[in-house]
Amino acid sequence: MSGFTFTIDGVDVPAQDGQTIMEAADAAGVYIPRLCDHQGLRHQGGCRVCTVKAAGRSFSACTQPATPGLQVENETPHINKLRRDLVEMLFHEGNHLCPICEASGNCELQAMAYRLDMTAPTKFPYLEPSRALDASHPDIALDTNRCISCGRCIRASQDIDRKGIFGYVGRGIRRRVAVDGADLAHTDAQVTDHAISDDVCPVGCIIRKRVGFATPIGERKFDQGLIGHEIEERGDD
């Protein structure tokens, strides 16, 4: 495998053939914000929060291969504004009530809002959709009010659990994540599935019952530091 370098915001980043911009950036300790991409899952390029600019075009950094000499823009005010707008629209598209959500503090959508300096979501109208809660399964509940359609559970269930419990239905703004069955109890979902594990769902949609507030609000994952700080600390070594 041959190596080469490209730049992100003017800093040299080493890469291998076939690596995406984000994979190379992660290894070099440069954090590119992302929601639908997750360690160990195949890349989707759906949420566009990882949008970067290079050669006058916008790419999703999680799917775009790095190429020698590519000059990538990542942390610019313009790109972060685009990212903030995307995150803001996600807040307005579903029912994201942080104070009542058991994922608050562990939620990547909320953490991304913090990182991108979104203090109050007000620019767009709230769609306030009416969405169902599926608590049929004895160990798992789904609160689809909080789903951001990132598809991480779909990929985890298909590729890692080899089950295909989740899938997309509908098109455009009506595209939703649905379960393959009348409800979750009528699928072969188990709480031990990777798709159900606590870090696959970035928000509070997939809920494992009876563990909700084991860690109190204020002492959770993103109360310890901004999202992406683990990756950025890699770059400090």
């Binding site: 009530l97 009542i100 990182r115």
Partner: protein, 190 residues
């Protein structure tokens, strides 16, 4: 003898909120003593004054609008305050009361909500089987509105509730004449 500088006048109100943000104002703790040398509190639940005595410099709003009285109070605040600050998630985006908005998709949404709350809910013990309808009760709105959808808001401070530190910082910076925003680590939605 030189005249003492005029104190900054502050008014506060809790609309469709839980008073948690007002509790958080008290979390300013002993710094309140220094603060009160610079400000005086006009209309507020803290002073129990119900009407404005004059124009205020800063108005602080907790909670969104769930009934017509909330709207009335909020408009009164906008008329009387130079700078209007919405504090807490309820004021900013409706918060917990806005949970009723998501069920507002049936033909008679408000009736459905009230019937479940007062009549058909599984754990309700309501001997009269009535939905409260005393004329003294303010009329409910069709849904819960964030403050910024009803009046122009100058600053929105997130949190449920914002910490005493964030509220103190907001006030001291406003008194100094500028509120450039907060360190990212201090902003929380919960």
């Amino acid at each position: 003898m030189t005249e003492e500088p005029r104190k900054v006048r502050i008014a506060t109100a809790s609309l469709a909120g839980c008073f948690g943000c007002h509790m958080a104002i008290l979390d300013i703790d002993e710094r309140l003593i220094e603060l009160m040398k610079l400000v005086e509190i006009d209309r507020s639940p803290l002073t129990d004054i119900k009407r404005f005595h004059g124009r205020c410099d800063i108005g602080i709003i907790e909670g969104g609008c769930c009934n017509e009285e909330n709207v009335e109070v909020l408009r009164d605040f906008r008329r009387h305050c130079d700078v209007l600050v919405a504090i807490g998630q309820c004021a900013i985006m409706g918060g917990l009361p806005a949970m009723r908005n998501a069920i507002m998709h049936s033909d008679e949404p408000l009736r459905e909500c009230l019937e479940e709350a007062y009549i058909s809910g599984r754990y309700i013990r309501n001997t009269t089987h009535d939905i409260p309808n005393d004329p003294a009760l303010p009329l409910l709105l069709d849904k819960v509105y964030p403050v910024s959808e009803v009046v122009e808001v100058d600053y929105q401070i997130p949190g449920c509730a914002p910490t005493g530190d964030v509220i103190f910082e907001t006030l001291t910076r406003l008194l100094a004449g500028r509120l450039p925003g907060f360190e990212r680590e201090h902003i929380k939605f919960d």
